[in-house]
Amino acid sequence: MSIEIRGIGKRFGNFVALDDIQLDIPTGELVALLGPSGCGKTTLLRIIAGMETADSGQVLFSGAEATHLHARERKVGFVFQHYALFRHMSVFENVAFGLRVKPRKERPPEAEIRRRVMDLLKLVQLDWLAERYPSQLSGGQRQRIALARALAVEPEVLLLDEPFGALDTKVRKELRRWLRRLHDEMHISSVFVTHDQEEALEVADRVVVMNRGKIEQIGTPDEVYSNPATPFVYQFLGNVNVFHSRVHGAWAEIGRAGAEGGAVPEGSPAHGDAMAFVRPHDIDIERSPVAGGLESSVQDVHAIGPVVRVELAHGSELIEVELTRERATELALAKGQQVWLRPRQVKVFAAPTQPLEEGGSGI
């Protein structure tokens, strides 16, 4: 089942949670809604599920109007961040719930319910826990049961709200790979909300980056990471160095040089206020002066696992550069040393009308 979202808007009092959202989710895709807290991603998911009503706009399921359908008529599976398992029911009864509440005519016979629930529990590899209660399970187990429960009614769309948000890092990594495999086996459309860029980039077919109630960019994980459409996306996906071209003449030059190479999108200003974005691993350090290189001094060098992070200062600005271990050994950098920086890939945007500090994880 495909989902189409047409001009959805939602306000909470004066707060605009969603502003004229347009989004198509084709059948069979696994889509991530990615953005910082308060960007409206969960609200959008809840509107798709019918748990929240939009102030304006339409939701279409497979081309048919679904805006006014009640949550129970939408045939969507919803998985909550905190699982929302029924505490007083065993694992088995939790999964069976959706089948048991069907109208009598559609309700499968008891043997069929039993078979389907056990199949689902096997699918999530927890059939040995059928008689336990939710409070006797670990977080990861609970989330898998919540998934099995949502799948029991054979939904055509699976919606997951920060499904791994409450789990620790190791379990989270395991579960998201497992979700990817599950999605491929079930042939359904899935939408999941996350604020974790790594999770979105790893699992999803397409990533929808949201900020302040608007969609900033829609694209494959590779597209949004290597070719961010807006400064926000650039900052939200990974670490980045930001240069104001007016202040740093040398880098504006580099920016323009980049523009010649086609890295700067059309419409980017060649003159005036502009910002240049460079990822830390897209900067080379040279020990001798290079044409257009930015002279700076080494402040600190940290070896972090496979990479070496170098902090440098140009005037009062701090610049972060990531090198491979080999390159770092080659350079043998010391604190206070003068070096020259050369960007390999730069992206220039017009200076924003609003400050950028929101998001920007990791800087």
Partner: protein, 294 residues
């Protein structure tokens, strides 16, 4: 799609409108007949014969002595309840010891025991045929059918209120702050004055309000031990009973209206304190760094 269209959609977790309205009507109707109407009736009956009769009934010397006795008893038991409540809550909430749950159950006992049984128990101890009866008589000390009996019965009935309010509160607060105070060199009293007391003051006040309402309104236990001596051992609730049984409707309801007024003051005070307590926890939460809001 227009904005008006979405109004017809019900939230996933709301009942249909007719269900909401029916339940609200049933709930409010029930409260009106069982709580609102009786409260209204007290005042209507009290003023049924007009203001002069009402004031006359309250100016009656027996009524006035009953009011004074009630106030005196309530004030007298107050410090006992506060000290017991704080001491019991301190021991129970901040320390681990064997038999703690038994102790908590014992504190609940006056809530479970019929007030009549509570009164009777004191007759069996201090009454003429009681355990200490002969000794008390020999020394010419009157407990039962006198003020001491009323006070003891009231103490029994009211002692759990403050403790019951403070125990969960102090358990929830934990002992980190007190331990910090001690580690910074505070003496026991300084720690209590400056750390514990500010944290529990609203809960303490809440317990005192409830205990006080019960102290002024207690009927069963006091009725058994007081002996109903007019102008001497008649508390206001007992005075109400006597007048009512004498078919002095206006007099009974005039005194009852004073008690109802006290009840209303209690409800207002209780609501205000609840509101303060909630506000305090809210500001505490607000002071913490915001969690993820979505």
């Amino acid at each position: 799609m227009s904005a008006t269209g979405s109004l017809s959609v019900r939230k996933a977790t709301a009942e249909p409108r007719w269900v909401r309205w029916t339940l609200t009507a049933v709930g409010l109707g029930f409260l009106f007949f069982f709580l609102g109407l009786p409260l209204l009736a007290v005042f209507v009956e009290a003023f049924a014969a007009g203001m002069p009769k009402y004031l006359e009934a309250l100016a009656d010397p027996e009524a006035r002595s009953a009011i004074w006795l009630t106030l005196f008893v309530a004030l007298f038991v107050l410090p006992f309840n506060v000290i017991f409540g704080v001491a019991a809550a301190w021991a129970i909430a901040k320390f681990e010891f064997r038999g703690k749950s038994l102790l908590v159950t014992l504190i609940d006992l006056p809530f479970a025991v019929s007030p009549v049984v509570a009164g009777l128990v004191f007759i069996l101890i201090f009454g003429a045929q009681g355990v200490f009866g002969p000794w008390l008589a020999a020394h010419d000390i009157k407990v039962v059918f006198a003020l001491p009996g009323i006070i003891i019965a009231t103490l029994f009935i009211t002692f759990p209120f403050v403790a019951r309010e403070l125990i969960p509160l102090m358990q929830a607060q934990g002992k980190d702050e007190e331990e910090a105070a001690v580690s910074l060199g505070a003496t026991g009293w300084q720690m209590f004055r400056r750390v514990t007391l500010p944290n529990i003051k609203w809960g303490l006040l809440y317990g005192v309000i409830l205990a006080n309402a019960r102290a002024m309104g207690e009927f069963g236990a006091v009725s058994v031990v007081s002996g109903h001596i007019r102008g001497e051992t008649n508390t206001l609730p007992l005075h109400v009973e006597i007048l009512y049984n004498e078919y002095n409707q206006v007099g009974a309801f005039a005194s009852a209206s004073v008690l109802a007024l006290l009840a209303l003051v209690t409800l207002v005070a209780k609501t205000v304190v609840e509101w303060r307590m909630r506000k305090e926890t809210e500001t505490l939460d607000a002071a913490l760094p915001p969690e993820k809001t979505e």
